[in-house]
Subunit: 283 residues, 2 copies
């Protein structure tokens, strides 16, 4: 069976994304860093990895773009996960609405703790406590078995660590928090009906060179789904660009020709993969 | 005196950026969220705020771009801060090199803890402990006065909380970690010799509309320093773009004319400010 590598432990957001995308919780293996995911899929050529690439609140996970530069792995799919920030605590006989006043310490990663600022303003007796990640925060609260402790984590974490959901979606902006994941592997995957590609490139240091590349795609009605520039380390004022392009079924035949042009106009370039566009999570 | 608002407590990276940029540690006021910084500068019209906008490892701080949409504040300056991840502990009579083996718990924000993965692999007896931010981790270690505890934080935190630097720059990639800050205020600042501008805009939903805007700048040899697209909430497949442009002294007169063209070609637009380009930190 193909192993699937993700960041963290069962109950992490990457775990949930992997479980949903592959429609199975078997063969999921958690590791501790993004680099470890790239290493694992490079060594175990039948395996897959799942990595977050951008978040609506946090922006691009640039570390993973850098890892695409270092490792030869392919993107074969994308997946959008809506992040849930639920307040979890050990089960008791009290009704959930009566439990809030007894909770005085809330564990989570600092990022979700910050995203729930208004909740903490309304419940000033709750003290924010940082933890390495949301799943481990839930695991800790579950282990201590103290009804005055809570964690902010997702529904999978609640189920896996036998915690009750005291209050759902307590973040300030619960509708706005979703993350895009890429599915990666060391083998080039032939994805039928692929309609998206991710490209990484640098351009010659002359004015207008980026525009020339984008123009090639625009002239052919190929949609630019994402664009981002990023300074190159130790080369101030030079940039790596990431773009994602999308096309319709009847444009498939043009893509190969356009990518040849793209290669001619760029200084360095890497096609990260062809894949099917995922739908956004239901808002 | 003009108040200056920053994120966190004295010893935070935002504190250090504010102190360095304004060359003073007076009138610095720490607050708990980025939104609070925007609120403060909007109410106190003589004040400034300092906010991180992008980090070489973490990418753009998209939350702050969203706040530019919600609040009418101006960018009047930029500053680059190199992030330091030093290992700090309470002073003892032992030599720093003898102390590493006695340290068994290291407190910091999860992000720097992750950035020091190789250090923790080499010192496997040290347990990573999450804290809300680096400065508060240093404050905690300083308060406990236990030589087996350490924090990962910067030099200002070491000085403010009377901790020794046991080991400098312990992150995997110490040269690569710098953050760009914007200086904001509610009053439009007239910056002499401004040579950069930050623009936020949306384009009509027709192919090639982004390219047309970039072309205007390229045709006039105006440098594109940064570009980033970001999906608009609840409008899938529509995007907000952030670009930063830079120009030379002899191009100053063109900018106003070009911005008029820019306004005509964009659907919505906001000029976030004109400012002087900061130099990158010495590597």
């Amino acid at each position: 069976m193909n192993q699937i590598y993700y960041l963290g432990i069962p109950g992490s957001n990457s775990y949930t994304a992997a479980k949903n995308y592959f429609r199975s919780q078997d063969n999921l293996t958690g590791v501790e860093t993004f680099a470890a995911i790239f290493q694992k899929v490079t060594i175990d050529t039948s395996s897959y990895g799942i990595i977050p690439i951008e978040n609506t609140l946090g922006g691009s996970v640039v570390e993973n773009y850098d890892l695409f530069d270092r490792f030869d792995v392919w993107i074969s799919g994308e997946y959008y996960l809506k992040f849930e920030n639920h307040l979890l605590a050990m089960p008791t006989n009290d009704a959930p609405e009566d439990r809030l006043e007894k909770i005085n310490r809330v564990y989570s990663h600092p990022q979700p703790l910050l995203q729930c600022t208004r909740f903490f303003e309304k419940h000033p007796w709750m003290k924010k406590k940082a933890y390495l990640d949301t799943a481990r925060a839930a695991q800790y609260v579950s282990g201590v078995q103290d009804p005055s402790l809570a964690a902010i984590a997702n529904q999978d974490a609640a189920e896996l660590f036998h915690l009750d959901i005291i209050k759902k979606n307590i973040s300030d902006n619960p509708e706005a928090n979703y993350t895009r994941f890429f599915i990666i592997s060391s083998q080039k995957q032939d994805v039928p009906d692929a309609n998206r590609a991710s490209l990484l490139f640098t351009v010659p240091h002359v004015p207008g060179s980026l525009v020339r590349i984008l123009q090639t795609f625009a002239d052919n009605h190929i949609n630019l789904v994402k664009i981002e520039s990023r300074p190159i380390q130790k080369k101030p004022f030079e940039y790596t660009f990431h773009i994602d392009i999308a096309w319709e079924k009847d444009q498939e035949d043009q893509i190969e020709k356009l990518l040849k042009k793209f290669k001619k106009n760029t200084q360095t370039q890497k096609v990260l993969g062809f894949y099917k566009a995922a739908s956004l999570p239901v808002q």
